[in-house]
Amino acid sequence: MPVDTGYAGREYAPNAAFEVGREHLRSFAAAVGAQHPAHTDVEAARALGHPDVIAPPTFAVVVAQRAEAQLFEDPAAGIDFSRVVHADERFTHHRPIHAGDRLVTVLHVDSIVERAGLAMITTRAEIAAEDGEPVATVVSTLAVRPEES
């Protein structure tokens, strides 16, 4: 089944809050080799003016992908994940994510275009605190290869 281009322009309702924990930030930082103490040591983070340990710059992908699942796990969208290749990714941070944050994401499907047999799907996750304060914007483009003929 081909990708349904009719999903372009869709905006999803805000999802359930993502609770950011200290140990999650520490394990993510260790996995990407992020050695700055502000990711692991509360006092080091506070010395820089942050309320708690803060996330490495790409941690927002973890928050965004939970929202993106609303699209990718929708059978009607026709996206076969075994044929997906990540094309590009961009994070814009309105403020750092820190432990204790409760983050709500609104997923937008900005575009679905077919190019040279590939379906290019661009999503935008607008991540905010529960009070509406903007936290991060995550724009991701995936290329879906056509089924083998």
């Binding site: 050695q35 490495p56 710059p57 590009d88």
Partner: protein, 141 residues
């Protein structure tokens, strides 16, 4: 920690250089920490079955590892206000063994009015670029 001063930077200036080593165990750690359990990043059989040369690193792992040098240079992870990459080439991770990701960061542009510098990353494995248009914008005021 001394923070870089915007007025003292020049376009083209190298600001950081590092190497990051990745083996299969690190990919398993990243899978757990990120929640990305796509088997092409830990299961050789599945990776080969979809036409890959073997298990490859998560593109998002490479993106996350590459920016560490910029964070350490700028002195506060919260100063990275924008970061983007294109994924241009997969990073095969052998077993046994490891892959070495080389990162060179240089000033790409300066914006005095915004108080930011754009840092361009050259990210290679065995001399071949694995990320394209890898740019981090850091706030320096």
């Amino acid at each position: 920690m001394t923070q870089p001063v915007l007025a003292e930077l020049q376009v083209g200036q190298e600001v950081a250089r590092t190497e990051v080593v990745v083996d299969r165990a690190r990919l398993v750690r990243y899978a757990a920490a990120s929640g990305d359990f796509n088997p092409i990043h830990w299961n050789e059989r599945v990776a080969l079955s979809v036409g890959l040369p073997g298990v490859i690193a998560h593109g998002m792992w490479t993106m996350g590892a590459a920016v560490g040098a910029v964070v350490d240079w700028v002195g506060d992870p919260g100063r990275v206000v924008d970061y983007q990459v294109r994924f241009t080439r997969p990073v095969p991770v052998p077993d046994p063994g490891h892959a070495t990701v080389e990162v060179v960061a240089a000033v790409g542009a300066l914006d005095e009015s915004a108080g930011t510098a754009r840092v361009d990353l050259t990210v290679t494995v065995e001399g071949q670029r694995v990320l394209g248009k890898a740019q981090a914008v850091v706030r320096l005021v």
